[in-house]
């Protein structure tokens, strides 16, 4: 189940979200972010994203 939504048009693929993910659920693959099932919807990635590209799905 995908629990966050990364707006790929806003994303600058900097990897900051990957570094703060406590679950290790994110991965920066070349120019896009992938999310796996370890995501807990904690929202830390959405908080720190420099461009506000991440939205947590409720």
């Amino acid at each position: 189940m995908v629990t966050i939504n990364v707006n790929k048009f806003k994303c600058g693929y900097c990897g900051a979200c990957v570094s703060v993910c406590p679950a290790g659920a994110l991965e920066l693959v070349e120019t896009w972010i992938e999310v796996n099932e370890l995501c807990t919807s904690c929202g830390i990635c959405a908080k720190i994203c420099p461009v506000g590209a991440i939205e947590v799905k409720k």
Partner: protein, 405 residues
């Protein structure tokens, strides 16, 4: 790409390329992998670097130097300016780099020395046997390959996974990351001889705005805010937009860069059996300036040498690789620890306190640009600050500050 090397380095930034170059120079077989298709792009950096330290690793080349900086102008929230320049010491301050060309030049150095370099190749996991890292699984153009290595180097940047795969928790807390956005702008009208810093919790909560000259009439205008201050509808890019709309309504945006800078200070460990972490992957960026290039290169040099030593003594255990851990903590680690103390104090200051610090430095002539000289002047004028940063004295004063002068 072979299926076995002495050393596989993951990530071709400054840390990875210097590690690969150093290890290859020693005669080891080295593979340097980079997941992007272009080394050095996209940029996530303000691109400022100290001249003296840079020269320890590579001869300056006009192809990747945009500007030659002789001083800094730091602005308190109320506009009070502190100028620090180093004309007296012979203009030995800093360069502003073109990272896209610089990073590739470093990878080229590694390649020239004998390392194999391969791009568009991403590490997807470590090969671990009997608690020892024995190699790395990579994805190259969508195909999976197993590559054996005596030592794997995680130089995979802020988004590092290599440490986590080896059981080292490198996850950063929001309070330990500066979330940053930057525009390359033309027509800001800044003096190309100076770097500019703007402090204030309104413009950059627990961070600062920087403006670094990039040659001609261009400049990197960027902002970093502490991760715990980000969110609730306002992110680094929004603060940056506010700043440039206010300050440079006529400037033009030529590029957008974003990134996260670890400001956690040293993490608990950077080695495991058959593995070392270097650069941003090891959270070796400076907690107060956010600078990471020099520390990454220093760490890379040490890691490359230690890789050779460990392989020579036929022992790549964590105990053996601890030589790297000890060496970097004695050198760049000490600076990182000191900066962390300063950062923890400064990020708590209100604008009023920052203004008062600014006023206390009015009229002070700085003949050097080091953080310690700035602190020395601040201490002289602010007894309270001296008390808050007293921990520094146990470590710094002993080694570096000369209060007799």
């Amino acid at each position: 790409m072979k299926n076995e090397y002495d050393v596989v380095v993951i990530g071709a930034g400054p840390a990875g390329s210097i590690t690969a170059k150093t290890a290859a120079e020693k005669g080891l077989s080295v593979l340097l992998i980079e997941k992007r298709q272009e080394i050095g792009d996209p940029v996530r950096c303000a691109e400022g670097v100290s001249k003296v330290w840079l020269r320890k690793h590579i001869e300056p080349d006009h192809r990747w130097i945009c500007a030659d900086v002789k001083g800094s102008r730091i602005f308190a929230p109320d506009g009070t300016m502190i100028e620090m320049s180093e004309e007296i010491a012979g203009a030995e301050v800093g360069y502003v780099l073109e990272r896209k060309i610089f990073d590739r030049a470093l990878a080229y150095e590694a390649a020239k020395t004998g390392a194999e370099v391969i791009v568009k190749t991403r590490a997807t996991d470590l090969i671990i046997e009997n608690n020892f890292v024995k190699g790395v699984k990579v994805s190259h153009l969508g195909q999976s390959y197993d590559i054996k290595a005596k030592i794997v180097i995680g130089a995979d940047g802020v988004e590092s996974k290599v440490g986590r795969w080896a059981g080292i928790n490198t996850a950063i807390k929001p309070v330990d990351i500066e979330t940053c956005a930057q525009y390359l702008m033309s027509n800001t009208g800044i003096d190309q001889n100076y770097c500019y810093f703007y402090l204030g919790n309104e413009i950059a909560p627990a961070g600062y705005v920087w403006i670094f000259p990039k040659g001609n009439d261009m400049a990197n205008v960027g902002i970093g805010i502490l991760g715990n201050k980000s969110g609730n509808g306002k992110h680094a890019i929004d603060y940056l937009n506010d700043f440039v709309n206010d300050k440079y309504p006529d400037a033009k945006i030529l590029e957008v860069d974003v990134g996260g800078v670890p400001v956690s200070g040293s993490i608990e460990k950077t080695v495991a059996n058959g593995l070392m972490l270097v650069g941003d992957a090891a959270r070796q960026s400076d907690p107060i300036t956010g600078g990471g290039i020099i520390n990454a290169m220093e760490a890379g040099k040490i890691a490359g040498e230690v890789a050779y030593n460990a392989i020579s003594r036929n022992n790549v255990s964590a105990d053996s690789l601890n030589e790297y851990e000890e060496k970097w903590r004695e050198t760049i680690g000490r600076e990182i620890d000191n900066s962390l103390i300063v950062k923890d104090t400064f990020t708590k200051f209100s604008d009023k306190e920052l203004n008062s610090l600014g006023h206390s430095l009015k009229g002070v002539n700085f003949s050097s640009m080091s953080l310690l000289d700035l602190l020395y002047a601040l201490f002289k004028a602010n007894k309270k600050l001296l008390w808050e940063l007293r921990v520094l004295f146990k470590t710094v004063v002993k080694y570096e500050l000369d209060f007799e002068k």
